[in-house]
């Protein structure tokens, strides 16, 4: 377990999450279950055994700048790169950061739209895990005026 330091900036945090994880994805099922049990993005990505993580202009994430209602926030995320194994959507400050994981087959385009809950204003990440293990992400800050919890 890596030590959790909330104060880390997002990039440092995301970089730290992969440093020193000697994990290799075994069966997708097993590792993804751990990823959904993870309480931080770092732990989630570590559970998925993703490799070096970097921000990439080839991954796109779109959503509202301000979400009136945190219970229903629409996102669209995609990548133009070939060789995508998985596309993930993560909300940093949710109790369960990993929202959705898509195993991309050759028969579908690596582009999805989905509606997610945000417990509070948060960074949202779309991560493309490539066949070679690289993890490329796009990030967006979403302001939530009404959270999805406690109501």
């Amino acid at each position: 377990m890596p030590s959790r330091r909330q104060a880390l900036s997002h990039t440092a945090a995301l970089a730290a999450l992969l440093a020193g994880t000697g994990l290799f994805p075994q069966l997708a099922r097993a590792s993804s279950k751990q990823a959904f049990d993870a309480r931080t993005i770092q732990d989630a990505m570590a559970a998925l055994g993703a490799g070096a993580l970097s921000e990439s202009g080839d991954v796109t994430l779109s959503g509202p700048d301000i979400a009136e209602n945190g219970a229903v926030v629409p996102f669209a995320f995609s990548t133009t790169l070939p060789g995508v194994r998985r596309l993930l959507l993560l909300v940093e400050k949710n109790p369960v950061p990993l929202v959705a994981l898509f195993n991309v087959s050759a028969a579908v385009e690596p582009a999805f739209s989905i509606r997610a809950k945000l417990a509070q204003s948060s960074s949202v990440y779309a991560v493309a895990v490539m066949d070679d293990g690289r993890a490329l992400y796009a990030r967006k800050e979403i302001k939530v005026t009404l959270g999805s919890c406690g109501t």
Binding site: P95, V99, L101, F102, R115, K117, C149, G150
Partner: protein
Amino acid sequence: MADPMRIRAQASGGKATVRILMAHEMESGQRKDEAGHIAPAWYIQEVTASHNGNTVLEAEWGPGVSKNPYLQFVVKGAQAGDTIGVRWKDNRGDTRSDEATVS
């Protein structure tokens, strides 16, 4: 058995855009009801989609997906008349399968 999904699949330019609206509470396990008890988590965990019987998409979801989930994706090579099937399974083991014809 849960309520049916609404699936629309429209072909254009050698691919089909699939839009799905599922009927599900998607209870996160964080929310308290009126009496102050935490409502137990109840959410869709697995979603699979098929094109003419062949699986084209496998997704895994957490409790962070909104109530009555919406999903949109694009199937390559799908033409009008093809069948798109969608199946979900939630953490209580309940499942639902529906099909739609590409228009």
